[in-house]
């Protein structure tokens, strides 16, 4: 951003929004929006409560297991779809349908089948994130230059080496893009899952705060969850940029 010839750092935009939030909060226009300073003050309260630590523990566990499954299945299915035409044809349509459908709608169903526990959360995270990972992996594998594959074959590459030393790395930029999107969706999934379950984890806290109108704590929690998702996505973005060096010249 440049104003009157001065280059303004990006964080300044953030600062302006923060000031605006603080102002609106102070003016007391809407009861739902407390001043930002109050939210930050509440963040301390939220972070060190027993209920938050428990909630975050459960949430991270569900997120971790769900994401792990989504990564293994998503990348595996994506590679198969990219390499074997029949698999791509058979699975492609379904995965596209699921990717564009509102998965939230099936969470209540999961709840009925899997109960109010860990399983539902894990499956929710998985269902939110796996499709985009599979689709992006497929694109990456399909675009992996056929001459690299030919080169590896001509030098007598074993099947395993062909995948581990050539195809995986060639597809890595797209795989990482898929993983970054998948992770963001996974965070959304775990929160939505917990909101619908309403008695566990961060979802339970959200539910409690909003029902009792404890707004500073509510917003503090929102910021924490946003920060977590953003931090994760930026970390993957960092790796992506390192890989991008060769992605552009493949």
């Amino acid at each position: 951003m440049t104003i009157y010839g001065y280059r303004l750092p990006t964080w300044l935009a953030l600062l302006i929004w923060a000031a605006l939030w603080e102002l609106i909060g102070r003016l007391d226009v809407i009861m739902l929006i407390p001043p930002l300073s109050a939210v930050f003050a509440a963040m301390g309260n939220v972070l060190f409560t027993q209920s938050f630590l428990e909630a975050i523990g459960i949430t991270l566990e569900a997120f971790g297991i769900g994401m792990g499954l989504a990564l293994v299945v998503g990348i595996g299915v994506g590679v198969a779809m990219g390499r074997v035409r029949v698999v791509g044809d058979v699975m492609g349509m379904w995965i596209n349908i699921f990717e564009s459908s509102p998965i939230t709608a099936v969470v209540p169903l999961l709840l009925a089948v899997l109960g109010f526990g860990m399983q539902t959360m894990v499956v929710t995270v998985f269902l939110f994130s796996v499709w985009v990972i599979a689709l992006d992996t497929q694109v990456g594998v399909k675009h992996a230059s056929s001459s690299l594959v030919e080169m590896a074959r001509s030098f007598g590459a074993s099947r395993r080496d062909l995948y581990a030393k050539v195809i995986f790395w060639a597809a890595l930029p797209e795989i990482l893009a898929g993983v970054r999107l998948g992770v963001i969706r996974g965070v959304r999934g775990v929160v939505i899952g917990q909101l619908l379950i309403a008695i566990v984890g961060v979802g339970f806290l959200f539910e409690t705060y909003s029902r009792k109108f404890i707004m500073p704590e509510f917003w503090a929690l929102v910021l924490i969850v946003f920060g977590f998702a953003y931090g994760l996505s930026e970390t993957i973005g960092l790796v992506e940029r390192r890989v991008a060096r060769y992605a552009s010249v493949r």
């Binding site: 230059s145 030919e150 080169m151 001509s154 030098f155 080496d161 030393k165 050539v166 060096r245 060769y246």
Partner: protein, 273 residues
Amino acid sequence: MPVAVKTAEPVRLRSAAEPAIRLRGIGKMFDDFRALEGIDLDFPRGELTTLLGPSGCGKTTTLKIVAGLLEATEGEVLVNGQPVTGPGPERAFVFQDFALLPWANVLRNVAFGLELRHVPKEEREEIARRYIAEVGLVGAEHKFPHELSGGMRQRVGLARALAVDAEILLMDEPFASVDEQNRRKFQEDLLSLLAHEKKTVIFVTHSIEEAVYISDQVAVLTRNPGRLSRVVRPEIDRSGHFDELRRSPAYLDAVDEIWHELKSYLDDEERAR
């Protein structure tokens, strides 16, 4: 010469008269399209044979069939008398688009053929360094492909093919993506390199001058479908300087002969249309 990967049989003991590669009635169909028909051709051991022809004549297809990357629809390829069923350690390929790993540096790229054959890291890097020196890339070991010019990239591709110490080198228009100035230099370098490497080379190109300049034998192919039109042996005295060679009568005659062959074919093609 370093022997990094032992070939299955003692190559040097084989009779020099036996062609390194024989094509017997090779034909290739891509679905309904006939790419090649009835190619019979011998590649004498230790010689450089060029496959020359207009685009679409199936020269690259022929090369990939010899490499074992494509399967012939008819006929068979014999390498040292053995039918080809797939890629093998006695053949190494140099690609038109270089096919370098963009995420690996020059050293690893040159050593990659050996890596795929599970040669220990230290040993393969030592061999790779030797061939990096041979193609004139010392100092570029830790550069990445995108930091190199087209000509340098192809040197990496060539070093990688040399490093596996295959007796047969298959080169698919290796200088097509190199600019004209570097191309000549490259051709000269290739000839001096091959002078002390004793390899059987199949070289694909669509440049008549290039073919005549570097080849012991030029196989002229025509298209629709790809057929062998004739084989020309330039018989150029290569003892003199490179520049003299390009002016020698033998060189000019061979270029002429091939040009007339291709021209009459192209004229026929036009008339048929």
